[in-house]
């Protein structure tokens, strides 16, 4: 198969690779370069300023807040989402009561219904979800507070997104709401490929549900959990958190910068404040955080691969 091989390879790779290099690789390289300049983004002129932007960043209180919030997103969100999803997926697939004559393991009744419903938010745009919840959180006329009034809790009327100590949690709750379903389905697929005889053996040994989960399901599912963790963390540091924070919180960035995240801060510095170079500096910090997060999860989670 040598005949015309290289012409074919070049012909097939040129367009995709060219497009990718121009719109993805080149801007990435440029932005690292710009982080050492004083480029405003408004005029084409700029000069090198060395590490000035990085020094400024270390003194920037809002940067530290956004870093702190982004780290919260990357650690708390996957933890909550994946824990919930593992519980739901286990109940749906394995947790069912054993019926006489039925298969050794089975899900609860209506398991396929739950899988369909839980997945709903995943197909919706995060922008639409964020808008919907912004209304639900409205302190005066929103659905949540009016529900609280309806059940007689007139005194419990939080400001939700307007309360600096609550706003971040409100935003995170929305992301949990919208992503749990994806992981339930993902873990369900993983659990379905665990051989039934392993469960059978555990049952014969008298293992309860919790033991079965921690000794059989979780170890065999570990690879999926780990890659899900990285996937969720990257989302929580990037596009998803941008959409929810930008759409839902006032400012955007919340009262008293209580919800600002790194990705939003990059956007605001570049396209609102005309400080493109400083924005890329924060972007580089975001890149470092993202890569460190992925490396950390992969390293901490490394264990012997179980063959089955």
């Amino acid at each position: 198969m040598q005949h015309g091989k290289y012409r074919f390879i070049v012909g097939f790779l040129a367009l995709p690779l060219g497009l990718y290099a121009l719109f993805v690789i080149w801007p990435f390289i440029q932005s690292i370069y710009y982080s050492f300049t004083d480029w405003t983004g408004l005029s084409p002129e700029f000069k090198m300023v060395g590490l000035d932007n990085y020094r400024r960043m270390l003194d920037d209180e809002i940067f530290w807040k956004s870093l702190q919030h982004s780290l919260m997103f990357a650690l708390v969100l996957p933890l909550v989402t994946i824990s919930l999803a593992l519980f739901f997926a286990f109940m749906i697939n394995v947790g069912g009561r054993r019926r006489k004559g039925g298969p050794v393991i089975s899900g609860v009744r209506g398991s396929s219904f739950y899988k369909i419903v839980y997945f709903f938010p995943q197909v919706l745009s995060i922008a639409i979800v964020a808008l919907l919840f912004a209304f639900a959180y409205n302190p005066d006329s929103g659905a949540i507070n009016s529900l609280l009034r309806g059940i007689g809790l007139d005194s419990v009327q939080p400001l939700w997104l307007g309360d600096p100590s609550l706003a971040l949690w409100c935003v995170m709750a929305v992301l949990v709401w919208s992503t749990v379903g994806f992981f339930v389905v993902l873990f369900s697929a993983g659990m379905a490929s665990i051989p039934a005889d392993l469960y059978e053996a555990a049952l014969l040994d008298g293992a309860g549900r919790a033991t079965t989960f921690f000794r059989i399901t979780l170890p065999l599912l570990w690879d999926t959990v780990q890659s899900g963790w990285v996937y969720m963390g990257i989302l929580a540091l990037g596009a998803e958190s941008f959409a929810v924070v930008q759409i839902m919180t006032t400012g955007p960035g919340g009262p008293d910068y209580s919800t600002t995240v790194m990705v939003l801060y990059v956007y605001q510095k570049a396209f609102r404040d005309g400080q493109a170079a400083y924005a890329t500096t924060i972007g580089v910090a975001l890149l470092v955080v993202t890569l460190a997060f992925a490396a950390l999860v992969m390293r901490l989670g490394r264990r012997e691969r179980l063959e089955y």
Binding site: F8, M91, K100, F119, F120, I128, A143, A210, T224, Y267
Partner: protein, 306 residues
């Protein structure tokens, strides 16, 4: 150092194992405990299902109400079905334009992504040449980098090329940012296809590109469908890229248009129209999901399982 995922499995003793032969059945008390646990955990499943569905139903209900009852009593049923909200959203609030723009952008970029992605993936999966590995990792590296970092210079790259605020500019950018996952997924897929068919075609005198378009691409259909659904949803729901690169009000896509609508309705006060717009944007994807449920789930989870 190892970490264990703390999972919220109830701490109660597990459900007793019902032995098949009932003569040696478990004691009564244990059986009862198991039932309680079952009810408890099933209850949580039901509660989460309600939590998922309720906001969506609430949005549909609200889209048929007038403004005063939206604010006065958010949970009451609409007194009459205000279909005028929907027509107002469609015409006055420009939902029809947003839909059209979205269809154009997603249509163009989906086709482009699949064609270019499968071409690159095929070459990377099937041919040995110097730099193959490097190009492959260059592509998949794009999956873990924060897109926002590139967006700052990208805005100016796109601007200098005269592509800012154009539909075709947005299409090209969507394709470029969809390539990493598409190439990653399809490369793995092409590797699983048997090589004998392609070799036979080649022996029969078919050129490389003819082999690709007439033999390999049809064989790769299941993979193309999965990755196509993945990209369709990702591109249809895309918010960050158009927010940065597409600021012309006439070119707005759905997600952007709705957010702008929400901002401007604050001054105009047409909240019922906004809810109608929201539901209008939600329904097609939800309907498509319910119809193509299996394929959608496969498409969205396939990548993460690899």
């Amino acid at each position: 150092m190892k970490t264990e995922t703390p999972a919220p499995v109830p701490a109660e003793p597990g459900v007793p194992v019902a032995k098949v032969d009932s003569a040696a059945g478990p004691p009564r008390k244990e059986k009862k405990e198991g039932t309680t646990l079952n009810v408890f955990s099933h209850g949580i499943l039901v509660i989460w299902a309600i939590l998922v569905v309720m906001p969506l139903l609430w949005a549909v209900m609200t889209s048929f109400k007038d403004d005063s009852s939206i604010f006065g009593s958010p949970w009451s049923l609409p007194d009459t079905l205000h279909f005028d909200n929907w027509s107002r959203a469609w015409t006055e609030a420009n939902m029809s334009d947003y839909f059209l723009n979205t269809i154009l952008v997603v249509g163009g970029s989906l086709i482009g992504t699949l064609v270019l992605g499968s071409m690159a993936a095929y070459v990377l999966a099937r041919f040995d040449f110097p730099g193959n590995r490097f190009i492959y990792y260059l592509f998949i590296g794009g999956m873990s980098f924060p897109v926002m970092l590139a967006l700052v210079p990208l805005f100016y790259v796109v601007n200098n090329m005269g592509l800012l605020n154009t539909i075709h500019g947005l299409i090209l950018v969507y394709i470029a940012y969809s390539l990493p996952f598409t190439v990653f997924f399809l490369t793995a897929f092409f590797r699983t296809l048997p090589s004998s068919v392609a070799e036979a075609a080649f022996v029969d005198g078919a050129s490389h590109s003819r082999t690709f378009f007439q033999i390999m691409l049809p064989m790769a259909k299941p993979g193309l469908i999965s990755v196509g659904i993945f990209n369709f949803l990702g591109q249809w729901n895309q918010y960050m890229l158009p927010t940065v690169l597409n600021t012309d009000p006439d070119k707005r896509v759905l997600t952007q248009g709705l957010v702008q609508l929400a901002v401007s309705q604050g001054y105009k006060g047409d909240w019922s129209g906004l809810f109608a717009g929201l539901v209008m944007a939600m329904l097609p994807v939800l309907a498509a999901y319910i119809i193509f449920q299996r394929q959608v789930v496969q498409g969205l989870t396939a990548g993460a399982l690899k």
